[in-house]
């Protein structure tokens, strides 16, 4: 007689339990919480605790973390967390432990002869820029916000406005140190473990340190070329013809414009300004971005309605029309305009929002146009959508960028019909050979993942080798069955 099913009955500890705060206290290790956590979109949310590792430097902490992992039973789960700028559930873990980026800020070795930086994973791009821009160096890739950590930049293999020229973040990462349950691994770009960790959404272990290439700049200013387009065809043509002439390129589509104006955009192209053209006050490399204001937590969800957003988009478009074709801007206004408003994610109210971002290959322009049309038709207020052309992919198993068109836009959630609309867009994207960006996702169907990410099997295999007991996971990984044990 098989009694194994009874054993489960009799063992109350097989119920999922919050990790115990008291039992894991050592001098340098403590667990706090639980707190209610979410990504930047504030939905979904889950309760999880935070693992704190104090004292020593990054090398010592690596050993402590490894000891903690190997001395506990495998029911304790860990999710690496950075600054929580991923939109969905990729850096939260219900009933598990989140790491704290503030504890991974010890190493900061800038090598000026090589132009490289060895840096602990908890440093943000903001901190790095504040230290190094005045010395004439810039990060190789920056997203639309400076408030992302090195760990998050590696795990999502982030892209910036220069992807068509420079590729993604880990194309400029020469070495990674990763704490996995099997040990502290030092990885080079050609290693399969590197390919699984870069873009691997925190599922192979905690990235503790990275060595990245920096790019030399002679000023902290950008020389910006602005062009306004009339409609989507015009936008596509402009980008196809002129992208390669500039290092940085992006189009902001007004998704509330319809009919003949459907897809009208403001395109901005940029280059780092050479010091020979610099005329401003202060040092050419001065860099000290400030907050203009911060949004309080009580902002009601109706604040953003179709009218207020339409007005904003109109303003943006008219401003684009008026601006000089060539202008000089600061790094922060060119790359990170949203960072000037603190906690702007609260604008969407308590119910939160999501960002839908996909890439479709070149040749699938019809799909691109159809998605813009469908998104412009829905009764949801949406600010500007960002359109850009990607260059070559990095070859990492789960990295998002691949040659083609990428479109990203924010949409308030918890509106009837949104789930179905996005499912419909997913089908179109997959049918044309595209994919959605995991760092932004909070709702895609798990059944589409193997079609969007054909190398997921290699990823699962390597992740399993590094972490055979599936200790590293996230709510996203459970939702999408990214790890082999979650299938």
């Amino acid at each position: 007689m098989n009694l194994s099913h009874l054993v489960v009955h009799l063992q109350p500890c097989s119920i999922t339990k919050m990790p115990d705060t008291e039992s894991h206290r050592s001098n340098d290790l403590s667990i706090s919480g639980p707190t209610l956590n979410s990504g930047w979109g504030r939905t979904p949310k889950s309760l999880g605790k935070t693992l704190q590792i104090k004292g020593g430097d990054t090398r010592e902490k690596e050993v402590e973390l490894l000891e903690f992992i190997t001395s506990n039973d495998t029911s304790i789960k860990i999710a690496p967390r950075g600054l929580g700028r991923s939109y969905g559930d990729s850096s939260i873990l219900s009933s598990g432990l989140l790491t704290d980026p503030n504890q991974w800020k010890d190493t900061f070795d800038f090598n000026s002869s090589k132009g490289t930086l060895r840096v602990s994973s908890g440093f943000s791009l903001d901190e790095i820029m504040r230290k190094l821009v005045p010395q004439g160096y810039f990060v190789p890739v920056t997203p639309g916000t400076r408030y992302v950590t090195i760990g998050g930049a590696v795990a999502a293999d982030i892209h910036g406005k220069n992807h068509h020229v420079d590729g993604s973040f880990t194309d400029h990462t020469n070495e990674l140190r990763v704490v996995s349950p099997t040990g502290v691994h030092v990885l080079k770009r050609s290693d399969p473990e590197f390919k699984a960790t870069a873009g691997g959404m925190g599922l192979t272990g905690l990235v503790s340190e990275a060595v990245i290439d920096l790019i030399p700049i002679s000023t902290s200013k950008m020389k910006v070329t602005t062009r306004v387009t009339q409609n989507i065809d015009d936008t596509i043509l402009e980008l196809e013809e002129n992208d390669t002439k500039y290092r940085y390129s992006v189009a902001w589509i007004d998704c509330m414009a319809k009919g003949r104006s459907l897809g009208r955009s403001v395109i901005t192209w940029g280059e780092h300004l050479d010091v020979s053209e610099f005329t401003g006050e202060g040092g050419p490399c001065s860099f000290d971005p400030r907050f203009l204001t911060s949004v309080p937590d009580i902002a009601p969800s109706w604040l953003l309605n179709r009218l207020s957003v339409r007005a904003f988009n109109e303003l943006w478009y008219q401003k684009g029309k008026l601006s000089n074709e060539i202008s000089i801007e600061s790094i922060e206004t060119f790359f990170h305009p949203l960072d000037m408003v603190g906690s702007w994610n609260r604008l969407y109210g308590q119910k939160g929002f999501l960002q839908y971002q996909f890439v479709v290959p070149f040749g699938a322009e019809d799909t691109l146009k159809e998605t813009v049309r469908l998104l412009s038709n829905v009764k949801v207020p949406s600010f500007l959508a960002v359109l850009k052309r990607f260059g070559k992919g990095s070859g990492n198993y789960l990295s998002f960028p691949s040659p083609g068109w990428t479109l990203a836009l924010d949409i308030p959630t918890h509106r009837f019909g949104l789930a179905d609309l996005l499912d419909r867009l997913d089908s179109m994207v997959v049918a044309s050979g595209g994919r959605v960006y995991l760092a932004k996702d909070s709702r895609v169907s798990k059944h589409l993942i193997p079609m969007m990410y054909p190398e997921i099997e290699s990823f699962r295999e390597v992740a399993h080798r590094l972490d055979p007991d599936n200790i590293f996971t996230t709510d996203m990984s459970r939702r999408l069955a990214l790890r082999v044990d979650e299938l």
């Binding site: 489960v8 009955h9 063992q11 109350p12 097989s14 119920i15 999922t16 339990k17 919050m18 639980p34 209610l36 979410s38 979109g41 939905t43 979904p44 949310k45 889950s46 309760l47 999880g48 969905g88 559930d89 873990l93 219900s94 009933s95 598990g96 119910k351 939160g352 999501l354 959630t413 918890h414 509106r415 009837f416 019909g417 949104l418 789930a419 909070s442 709702r443 169907s445 709510d475 459970r478 939702r479």
Partner: protein, 253 residues
């Protein structure tokens, strides 16, 4: 897990024979739900619901013995459901009995039975579920209440009072869980044509379980905390609730 549109991947129905819950689960299984646990006292009434769910989706459906009248066992059974079939993303409280007002009025034990199955059992189960959710770190709750609980009427006060109690309990439980990220929806259907109401005279605004389920799905996606179905019922009840007792007594439903 639950996604940004509030769509769960696994659902447990407490009162697994409920036709309304069956329709809700069918719709959820067309979205992200792939595992359903039907929990009820009577496998015979759950089997047809299982085959219906499986005829329109590939969801896995498990049946578990669960009895709202056995209050001493409820916590243990809920815990077992979570440990054996968990994680459970969404719990639907759907069990209940109508009773027979005219017969039960004089029967203390029948009154106790209706109150137990409709209120004491569900409140016990909800409390056990709440505890499991706090450990699990997330979850959502859907409680099928009734407009009958909004203003208890002479013609079915035994049932109505039990639903009034459940309704109040669920709304406040939901409030207490808000800052824990656990979302609760209370559904107040009007007259629904089901096995339970077979033979009863149809009340105004009566509807089918499918219609109720559609309203529930919309409410989940919109993350509403309380809905009436059909939506117009809300206004009917708002008026009815404010009628003076003398007049309310004479309203014929």
């Amino acid at each position: 897990m639950i996604d940004a549109n509030s769509m769960p991947q696994s659902v447990a129905v407490f009162g697994g024979g409920s036709e309304i819950a069956g329709e809700i689960v069918k719709l959820l299984a067309e979205k992200r739900c792939e595992h359903v646990v039907l929990c009820g006292p009577n496998f015979q009434s759950m089997e047809p619901i299982r085959s219906q769910i499986q005829s329109t989706s590939s969801a896995k459906v498990d049946l578990v013995h669960f009895d709202l009248s056995q209050i001493d066992d409820i916590e243990k059974v809920v815990n077992n459901i979570f440990s054996e079939h968990g994680p459970i993303d969404c719990s639907i409280i759907a069990g209940g009995i109508l009773g027979d007002q005219s017969n039960d009025e004089s029967s203390p034990i029948q009154v106790a039975k209706v109150a137990t199955v409709n209120y004491v059992g569900p409140a016990t189960a909800l409390t056990a579920i709440r505890n499991r959710y706090l450990d699990q770190g997330y979850g959502q709750i859907i409680v099928l209440s009734s407009v009958a609980g909004e203003r208890v009427r002479r013609s079915n006060y035994i049932y109505g009072a039990s639903k009034a109690a459940l309704d109040g309990f669920a709304l406040s439980l939901g409030e207490s869980l808000l800052d824990k990220g656990i979302y609760t929806l209370v559904v107040r259907p009007g007259f629904v044509s089901t096995k339970m109401t077979e033979g009863l005279k149809k009340a105004p605004l009566s509807q089918s379980p499918v219609q109720v389920a559609k309203d529930v799905l919309k409410a989940i996606e919109e993350q509403k905390e309380l809905i009436w179905t059909p939506p117009a019922m809300r206004y009917v009840m708002a008026i009815y609730r404010h009628l003076p007792r003398k007049i309310a007594r004479r309203v014929p439903f």
